[in-house]
Protein backbone atom coordinates (compact mmCIF):
# COMPACT_ATOMS: atom_id res chain seq x y z
CA UNK A 1 0.00 0.00 0.00
CA UNK A 2 0.95 3.63 -0.34
CA UNK A 3 2.13 5.36 2.82
CA UNK A 4 -0.68 7.63 3.94
CA UNK A 5 1.48 10.71 4.41
CA UNK A 6 2.46 10.53 0.75
CA UNK A 7 -1.22 10.39 -0.25
CA UNK A 8 -1.87 13.40 1.94
CA UNK A 9 0.99 15.25 0.28
CA UNK A 10 -0.37 14.47 -3.16
CA UNK A 11 -3.85 15.61 -2.15
CA UNK A 12 -2.71 18.90 -0.66
CA UNK A 13 -0.40 19.65 -3.55
CA UNK A 14 -3.14 19.01 -6.06
CA UNK A 15 -5.76 21.04 -4.22
CA UNK A 16 -3.73 24.05 -3.15
CA UNK A 17 0.08 24.24 -3.56
CA UNK A 18 -0.02 23.22 -7.20
CA UNK A 19 -3.68 23.91 -7.94
CA UNK A 20 -4.03 23.43 -11.68
CA UNK A 21 -5.92 26.65 -12.27
CA UNK A 22 -4.50 29.29 -9.98
CA UNK A 23 -0.97 27.94 -9.49
CA UNK A 24 -0.24 26.32 -12.82
CA UNK A 25 -2.72 28.40 -14.88
CA UNK A 26 -3.80 25.29 -16.78
CA UNK A 27 -7.22 24.49 -18.13
CA UNK A 28 -8.11 28.15 -18.42
CA UNK A 29 -10.05 27.76 -21.67
CA UNK A 30 -12.82 25.68 -20.16
CA UNK A 31 -12.63 27.62 -16.90
CA UNK A 32 -13.67 30.63 -18.95
CA UNK A 33 -16.14 28.94 -21.24
CA UNK A 34 -18.52 26.95 -19.08
CA UNK A 35 -18.67 28.95 -15.87
CA UNK A 36 -21.70 31.17 -16.34
CA UNK A 37 -24.17 28.67 -14.90
CA UNK A 38 -23.37 26.75 -11.72
CA UNK A 39 -25.13 23.55 -12.80
CA UNK A 40 -23.23 23.33 -16.11
CA UNK A 41 -20.00 23.95 -14.23
CA UNK A 42 -20.69 21.15 -11.77
CA UNK A 43 -21.17 18.64 -14.56
CA UNK A 44 -18.10 19.92 -16.36
CA UNK A 45 -16.12 19.56 -13.12
CA UNK A 46 -17.41 16.02 -12.67
CA UNK A 47 -16.33 15.17 -16.21
CA UNK A 48 -12.82 16.45 -15.58
CA UNK A 49 -12.52 14.64 -12.23
CA UNK A 50 -13.69 11.41 -13.89
CA UNK A 51 -11.17 11.80 -16.71
CA UNK A 52 -8.11 12.89 -14.69
CA UNK A 53 -8.60 10.18 -12.09
CA UNK A 54 -9.19 7.28 -14.47
CA UNK A 55 -6.69 8.37 -17.10
CA UNK A 56 -4.08 8.73 -14.34
CA UNK A 57 -4.85 5.21 -13.21
CA UNK A 58 -4.73 3.77 -16.72
CA UNK A 59 -1.59 5.57 -17.82
CA UNK A 60 0.12 4.45 -14.64
CA UNK A 61 -0.99 0.82 -15.15
CA UNK A 62 0.43 0.88 -18.65
CA UNK A 63 3.58 2.81 -17.76
CA UNK A 64 5.94 -0.18 -17.58
CA UNK A 65 4.87 -1.39 -21.01
CA UNK A 66 4.53 1.92 -22.84
CA UNK A 67 7.51 2.63 -25.11
CA UNK A 68 8.86 6.10 -24.26
CA UNK A 69 8.70 7.36 -27.82
CA UNK A 70 4.96 6.93 -28.10
CA UNK A 71 3.95 7.64 -24.51
CA UNK A 72 2.21 10.90 -25.34
CA UNK A 73 0.17 9.26 -28.08
CA UNK A 74 -0.92 6.64 -25.60
CA UNK A 75 -1.80 9.28 -23.01
CA UNK A 76 -3.95 11.24 -25.46
CA UNK A 77 -5.65 8.04 -26.55
CA UNK A 78 -6.47 7.05 -22.98
CA UNK A 79 -7.74 10.55 -22.16
CA UNK A 80 -9.87 10.69 -25.30
CA UNK A 81 -11.30 7.29 -24.42
CA UNK A 82 -12.65 8.44 -21.06
CA UNK A 83 -13.91 11.75 -22.40
CA UNK A 84 -15.84 10.04 -25.21
CA UNK A 85 -17.35 7.61 -22.72
CA UNK A 86 -18.52 10.49 -20.54
CA UNK A 87 -19.86 12.37 -23.54
CA UNK A 88 -21.79 9.34 -24.77
CA UNK A 89 -23.24 8.74 -21.32
CA UNK A 90 -24.40 12.36 -21.10
CA UNK A 91 -25.99 12.17 -24.55
CA UNK A 92 -27.88 9.04 -23.59
CA UNK A 93 -28.90 9.76 -20.01
CA UNK A 94 -28.91 13.55 -19.63
CA UNK A 95 -29.60 14.96 -23.09
CA UNK A 96 -30.47 18.46 -21.84
CA UNK A 97 -27.13 18.83 -20.11
CA UNK A 98 -25.35 17.39 -23.11
CA UNK A 99 -26.95 20.10 -25.23
CA UNK A 100 -25.98 22.80 -22.70
CA UNK A 101 -22.33 21.85 -22.64
CA UNK A 102 -22.18 21.43 -26.39
CA UNK A 103 -18.64 20.89 -27.63
CA UNK A 104 -16.97 21.55 -24.27
CA UNK A 105 -17.16 17.98 -23.02
CA UNK A 106 -15.27 16.78 -26.07
CA UNK A 107 -12.76 19.58 -25.61
CA UNK A 108 -11.74 18.12 -22.24
CA UNK A 109 -9.44 15.90 -24.29
CA UNK A 110 -7.28 18.92 -24.95
CA UNK A 111 -7.45 20.16 -21.35
CA UNK A 112 -3.83 20.66 -20.37
CA UNK A 113 -4.45 19.60 -16.75
CA UNK A 114 -5.16 16.01 -17.70
CA UNK A 115 -2.27 15.67 -20.11
CA UNK A 116 -0.08 17.47 -17.57
CA UNK A 117 -0.93 15.06 -14.76
CA UNK A 118 -0.42 12.05 -17.02
CA UNK A 119 3.00 13.32 -18.10
CA UNK A 120 4.20 14.69 -14.78
CA UNK A 121 2.76 12.16 -12.38
CA UNK A 122 1.07 9.02 -13.68
CA UNK A 123 4.01 8.17 -15.92
CA UNK A 124 6.34 7.65 -12.98
CA UNK A 125 4.06 6.74 -10.06
CA UNK A 126 2.10 3.67 -8.95
CA UNK A 127 -1.53 3.33 -10.15
CA UNK A 128 -3.38 4.01 -6.92
CA UNK A 129 -1.37 7.11 -6.12
CA UNK A 130 -1.86 8.33 -9.70
CA UNK A 131 -5.59 7.81 -9.31
CA UNK A 132 -5.58 9.92 -6.13
CA UNK A 133 -3.46 12.59 -7.79
CA UNK A 134 -5.80 12.74 -10.77
CA UNK A 135 -8.87 12.77 -8.56
CA UNK A 136 -7.68 15.71 -6.51
CA UNK A 137 -6.20 17.62 -9.42
CA UNK A 138 -9.63 17.37 -11.00
CA UNK A 139 -11.26 18.46 -7.76
CA UNK A 140 -8.84 21.37 -7.45
CA UNK A 141 -9.84 22.44 -10.92
CA UNK A 142 -13.55 21.94 -10.29
CA UNK A 143 -13.46 23.97 -7.07
CA UNK A 144 -11.98 27.01 -8.78
CA UNK A 145 -14.46 26.67 -11.62
CA UNK A 146 -17.32 26.52 -9.16
CA UNK A 147 -16.12 29.68 -7.39
CA UNK A 148 -16.03 31.49 -10.74
CA UNK A 149 -19.47 30.14 -11.65
CA UNK A 150 -21.09 31.16 -8.37
CA UNK A 151 -19.84 34.73 -8.77
CA UNK A 152 -20.87 34.91 -12.42
CA UNK A 153 -24.33 33.43 -12.09
CA UNK A 154 -25.12 35.43 -8.96
CA UNK A 155 -23.98 38.83 -10.25
CA UNK A 156 -24.95 38.22 -13.86
CA UNK A 157 -28.32 36.54 -13.52
CA UNK A 158 -29.29 36.94 -9.87
CA UNK A 159 -29.71 33.21 -9.40
CA UNK A 160 -27.85 30.13 -8.21
CA UNK A 161 -28.46 26.73 -9.80
CA UNK A 162 -31.28 28.46 -11.66
CA UNK A 163 -33.07 29.48 -8.46
CA UNK A 164 -33.58 33.22 -8.00
CA UNK A 165 -31.61 34.53 -5.01
CA UNK A 166 -32.96 37.14 -2.57
CA UNK A 167 -31.70 40.67 -3.27
CA UNK A 168 -29.82 39.68 -6.44
CA UNK A 169 -33.02 38.80 -8.30
CA UNK A 170 -34.91 41.84 -6.96
CA UNK A 171 -35.13 45.16 -8.81
CA UNK A 172 -32.55 46.53 -6.33
CA UNK A 173 -29.89 44.60 -8.17
CA UNK A 174 -29.11 45.70 -11.69
CA UNK A 175 -27.88 42.49 -13.30
CA UNK A 176 -24.33 42.68 -14.59
CA UNK A 177 -24.81 41.21 -18.04
CA UNK A 178 -21.06 41.39 -18.60
CA UNK A 179 -20.58 38.68 -15.96
CA UNK A 180 -22.52 36.22 -18.10
CA UNK A 181 -20.50 37.13 -21.17
CA UNK A 182 -16.91 35.96 -21.73
CA UNK A 183 -15.21 39.08 -20.24
CA UNK A 184 -16.91 38.34 -16.92
CA UNK A 185 -14.98 35.10 -16.72
CA UNK A 186 -11.65 36.88 -17.21
CA UNK A 187 -12.38 39.39 -14.45
CA UNK A 188 -13.62 36.79 -11.99
CA UNK A 189 -10.81 34.35 -12.64
CA UNK A 190 -8.19 37.07 -12.34
CA UNK A 191 -9.57 38.18 -8.98
CA UNK A 192 -9.62 34.59 -7.71
CA UNK A 193 -6.04 33.92 -8.83
CA UNK A 194 -4.98 37.18 -7.22
CA UNK A 195 -6.67 36.31 -3.91
CA UNK A 196 -5.26 32.78 -3.83
CA UNK A 197 -1.75 33.95 -4.58
CA UNK A 198 -1.90 36.73 -1.99
CA UNK A 199 -2.88 34.19 0.65
CA UNK A 200 -0.05 31.93 -0.47
CA UNK A 201 2.55 34.72 -0.33
CA UNK A 202 1.45 35.62 3.19
CA UNK A 203 1.76 31.99 4.24
CA UNK A 204 5.24 31.77 2.75
CA UNK A 205 6.50 34.93 4.43
CA UNK A 206 5.16 33.72 7.78
CA UNK A 207 7.03 30.46 7.33
CA UNK A 208 10.22 32.33 6.49
CA UNK A 209 10.07 34.66 9.48
CA UNK A 210 9.47 31.68 11.78
CA UNK A 211 12.50 29.83 10.59
Amino acid sequence: MIPSNKTKDVVLTALWDDNPVFRQILGICSALAVTNLVLNTMVMGAAVVFTTALSGLTVSLLRKWTPRVIRMMVEVLVIAFYVILFDQALKAYWPDMSRNLGPYVGLIITNCIIMGRAEAFANTNPPLLSFVDGLFSGLGYATVLLCVAVVRELLGMGSLLGMPMPFFSSPLWDRWIIMVMPPGAFFTLAVIVWLARTIQVEKDTKKETKS
Binding site: V34, N36, L37, N40, L62, W65, T66, P67, V69, I70, M73, V74, L77, V78, F81, I84, L85, Q88, A89, K91, A92, Y93, P95, R99, N100, G102, P103, E153, G156, M157, I177, V180, M181
Partner: protein, 206 residues
Protein backbone atom coordinates in the same frame (compact mmCIF):
# COMPACT_ATOMS: atom_id res chain seq x y z
CA UNK B 1 12.24 -7.00 -21.47
CA UNK B 2 13.51 -7.98 -24.87
CA UNK B 3 10.13 -7.57 -26.48
CA UNK B 4 10.09 -3.86 -25.71
CA UNK B 5 13.38 -3.34 -27.52
CA UNK B 6 12.01 -4.55 -30.86
CA UNK B 7 11.52 -1.86 -33.50
CA UNK B 8 7.95 -2.92 -34.21
CA UNK B 9 6.89 -2.95 -30.58
CA UNK B 10 5.59 0.66 -30.40
CA UNK B 11 3.37 0.05 -33.43
CA UNK B 12 2.12 -3.20 -32.03
CA UNK B 13 1.49 -1.62 -28.61
CA UNK B 14 -0.41 1.31 -30.07
CA UNK B 15 -2.46 -1.03 -32.21
CA UNK B 16 -3.46 -3.22 -29.29
CA UNK B 17 -4.33 -0.29 -27.02
CA UNK B 18 -6.37 1.39 -29.75
CA UNK B 19 -8.16 -1.85 -30.48
CA UNK B 20 -9.11 -2.42 -26.85
CA UNK B 21 -10.24 1.13 -26.13
CA UNK B 22 -12.21 1.54 -29.35
CA UNK B 23 -13.90 -1.79 -28.76
CA UNK B 24 -15.22 -0.52 -25.44
CA UNK B 25 -16.41 2.75 -27.00
CA UNK B 26 -18.13 0.99 -29.89
CA UNK B 27 -19.81 -1.40 -27.50
CA UNK B 28 -21.01 1.41 -25.24
CA UNK B 29 -22.07 3.42 -28.28
CA UNK B 30 -24.17 0.60 -29.64
CA UNK B 31 -25.83 0.09 -26.28
CA UNK B 32 -26.80 3.75 -26.02
CA UNK B 33 -27.48 4.46 -29.70
CA UNK B 34 -31.21 3.80 -29.52
CA UNK B 35 -31.51 5.91 -26.39
CA UNK B 36 -29.73 8.86 -27.96
CA UNK B 37 -31.99 8.61 -31.02
CA UNK B 38 -35.10 8.46 -28.83
CA UNK B 39 -33.89 11.50 -26.86
CA UNK B 40 -33.52 13.50 -30.06
CA UNK B 41 -36.94 12.42 -31.27
CA UNK B 42 -38.59 13.36 -27.97
CA UNK B 43 -36.86 16.75 -27.92
CA UNK B 44 -38.31 17.35 -31.39
CA UNK B 45 -41.80 16.18 -30.49
CA UNK B 46 -41.79 18.25 -27.32
CA UNK B 47 -40.85 21.34 -29.34
CA UNK B 48 -43.69 20.71 -31.79
CA UNK B 49 -46.20 20.45 -28.95
CA UNK B 50 -44.82 23.52 -27.19
CA UNK B 51 -45.25 25.60 -30.35
CA UNK B 52 -48.92 24.59 -30.55
CA UNK B 53 -51.80 25.37 -28.18
CA UNK B 54 -51.50 22.00 -26.48
CA UNK B 55 -51.13 21.78 -22.72
CA UNK B 56 -48.45 19.37 -21.56
CA UNK B 57 -48.10 18.37 -17.92
CA UNK B 58 -45.09 20.26 -16.49
CA UNK B 59 -43.04 17.12 -15.97
CA UNK B 60 -44.29 15.07 -18.89
CA UNK B 61 -42.48 11.79 -19.37
CA UNK B 62 -41.12 10.90 -22.82
CA UNK B 63 -43.92 8.37 -23.36
CA UNK B 64 -46.60 10.92 -22.43
CA UNK B 65 -45.11 13.39 -24.91
CA UNK B 66 -44.98 10.76 -27.60
CA UNK B 67 -48.61 9.76 -27.03
CA UNK B 68 -49.88 13.33 -27.20
CA UNK B 69 -47.81 13.82 -30.34
CA UNK B 70 -49.10 10.84 -32.27
CA UNK B 71 -52.73 11.46 -31.38
CA UNK B 72 -52.72 15.15 -32.36
CA UNK B 73 -50.09 15.82 -34.98
CA UNK B 74 -50.18 15.02 -38.67
CA UNK B 75 -47.03 15.20 -40.74
CA UNK B 76 -46.55 17.93 -43.33
CA UNK B 77 -48.04 17.55 -46.80
CA UNK B 78 -48.55 19.66 -49.90
CA UNK B 79 -51.66 21.35 -48.50
CA UNK B 80 -49.72 22.71 -45.50
CA UNK B 81 -46.68 23.87 -47.49
CA UNK B 82 -44.24 21.97 -45.31
CA UNK B 83 -45.79 22.65 -41.91
CA UNK B 84 -47.00 19.99 -39.48
CA UNK B 85 -50.71 19.99 -38.74
CA UNK B 86 -52.51 19.95 -35.42
CA UNK B 87 -55.86 18.24 -35.86
CA UNK B 88 -58.43 18.21 -33.08
CA UNK B 89 -61.90 16.66 -33.51
CA UNK B 90 -61.36 16.36 -37.26
CA UNK B 91 -60.74 20.07 -37.74
CA UNK B 92 -57.43 21.77 -38.28
CA UNK B 93 -56.49 23.96 -35.32
CA UNK B 94 -52.98 25.11 -36.13
CA UNK B 95 -49.82 24.57 -38.14
CA UNK B 96 -46.31 24.06 -36.79
CA UNK B 97 -43.82 25.43 -39.26
CA UNK B 98 -40.25 24.12 -38.92
CA UNK B 99 -37.63 26.86 -38.67
CA UNK B 100 -33.90 26.43 -39.12
CA UNK B 101 -31.03 28.80 -39.59
CA UNK B 102 -27.69 30.01 -38.28
CA UNK B 103 -27.45 31.18 -34.69
CA UNK B 104 -24.47 32.87 -33.05
CA UNK B 105 -22.44 29.69 -32.47
CA UNK B 106 -24.26 26.95 -34.34
CA UNK B 107 -27.50 26.40 -36.18
CA UNK B 108 -30.81 26.85 -34.41
CA UNK B 109 -33.71 24.53 -35.18
CA UNK B 110 -37.22 24.97 -33.93
CA UNK B 111 -40.87 25.41 -34.85
CA UNK B 112 -43.36 28.22 -34.83
CA UNK B 113 -47.05 27.52 -34.38
CA UNK B 114 -49.57 29.45 -36.47
CA UNK B 115 -53.33 29.11 -35.97
CA UNK B 116 -55.61 28.04 -38.82
CA UNK B 117 -56.30 31.71 -39.66
CA UNK B 118 -52.64 31.84 -40.86
CA UNK B 119 -52.21 34.94 -38.70
CA UNK B 120 -52.17 34.21 -34.97
CA UNK B 121 -48.98 32.81 -33.49
CA UNK B 122 -49.67 30.00 -31.06
CA UNK B 123 -46.12 29.63 -29.79
CA UNK B 124 -42.51 29.01 -30.66
CA UNK B 125 -40.08 26.34 -29.46
CA UNK B 126 -36.57 25.13 -30.19
CA UNK B 127 -35.11 21.66 -30.12
CA UNK B 128 -31.59 22.33 -31.29
CA UNK B 129 -29.39 25.30 -30.39
CA UNK B 130 -25.96 26.00 -29.03
CA UNK B 131 -26.21 29.65 -28.03
CA UNK B 132 -24.32 31.07 -25.04
CA UNK B 133 -25.96 29.74 -21.86
CA UNK B 134 -27.56 32.62 -19.98
CA UNK B 135 -27.60 34.88 -23.05
CA UNK B 136 -28.63 33.58 -26.47
CA UNK B 137 -29.49 30.29 -24.77
CA UNK B 138 -32.43 32.11 -23.17
CA UNK B 139 -34.41 31.62 -26.40
CA UNK B 140 -35.48 28.25 -25.01
CA UNK B 141 -36.82 29.79 -21.78
CA UNK B 142 -40.56 30.35 -21.33
CA UNK B 143 -40.02 34.09 -20.62
CA UNK B 144 -38.86 34.60 -24.18
CA UNK B 145 -41.14 32.10 -25.86
CA UNK B 146 -44.46 33.12 -24.28
CA UNK B 147 -44.08 36.60 -25.79
CA UNK B 148 -44.90 35.12 -29.18
CA UNK B 149 -48.21 33.64 -28.16
CA UNK B 150 -51.17 35.60 -29.55
CA UNK B 151 -49.11 37.85 -31.81
CA UNK B 152 -50.46 38.52 -35.29
CA UNK B 153 -48.12 37.81 -38.16
CA UNK B 154 -47.55 40.48 -40.81
CA UNK B 155 -49.87 43.19 -39.56
CA UNK B 156 -47.23 45.55 -40.87
CA UNK B 157 -43.69 45.20 -42.19
CA UNK B 158 -41.94 41.86 -41.68
CA UNK B 159 -44.02 38.95 -40.35
CA UNK B 160 -42.70 39.18 -36.76
CA UNK B 161 -40.32 41.83 -35.56
CA UNK B 162 -37.81 41.24 -32.76
CA UNK B 163 -37.14 44.63 -31.17
CA UNK B 164 -34.66 45.78 -28.51
CA UNK B 165 -35.85 45.32 -24.94
CA UNK B 166 -36.56 49.02 -24.52
CA UNK B 167 -38.78 49.38 -27.59
CA UNK B 168 -42.55 49.58 -27.37
CA UNK B 169 -44.33 46.50 -28.64
CA UNK B 170 -47.33 46.12 -30.89
CA UNK B 171 -49.32 43.28 -32.36
CA UNK B 172 -46.50 41.80 -34.39
CA UNK B 173 -43.36 42.44 -32.40
CA UNK B 174 -41.60 40.85 -29.45
CA UNK B 175 -38.61 41.83 -27.30
CA UNK B 176 -35.14 40.55 -28.10
CA UNK B 177 -32.86 39.12 -25.41
CA UNK B 178 -30.65 41.75 -23.79
CA UNK B 179 -27.00 40.91 -24.30
CA UNK B 180 -27.77 38.50 -27.12
CA UNK B 181 -28.21 40.86 -30.04
CA UNK B 182 -26.61 38.50 -32.55
CA UNK B 183 -28.78 35.54 -31.58
CA UNK B 184 -31.89 37.69 -31.69
CA UNK B 185 -31.04 39.26 -35.05
CA UNK B 186 -30.16 35.97 -36.71
CA UNK B 187 -33.21 34.22 -35.32
CA UNK B 188 -35.36 37.14 -36.49
CA UNK B 189 -33.95 37.09 -39.99
CA UNK B 190 -34.34 33.39 -40.75
CA UNK B 191 -37.66 33.16 -38.94
CA UNK B 192 -39.13 35.99 -41.02
CA UNK B 193 -37.71 34.69 -44.26
CA UNK B 194 -39.19 31.25 -43.69
CA UNK B 195 -42.48 32.58 -42.36
CA UNK B 196 -42.89 34.84 -45.39
CA UNK B 197 -42.09 31.99 -47.78
CA UNK B 198 -44.55 29.70 -46.04
CA UNK B 199 -47.35 32.29 -46.07
CA UNK B 200 -46.76 32.81 -49.78
CA UNK B 201 -47.00 29.07 -50.30
CA UNK B 202 -50.21 28.85 -48.29
CA UNK B 203 -51.83 31.77 -50.09
CA UNK B 204 -51.10 30.19 -53.45
CA UNK B 205 -53.02 27.07 -52.45
CA UNK B 206 -55.99 26.34 -54.67
Amino acid sequence: MALREKAWFPIFFMFVITLCLSAVIILFGSITRQRVKDNERIAYERAVLQALPIELPPRATPSQIHNVYITNIQEADASSAGALKYIKDDSLVAYALPLAGPGFWASIKGLIGIAADLRTVTGIAFYEQNETPGLGGEIVKTEFRTQFRGKKVAVKGVPLEILPATAELDENSVHAITGATQTSNRLGSFMNEQLAAWRKGMNNQP
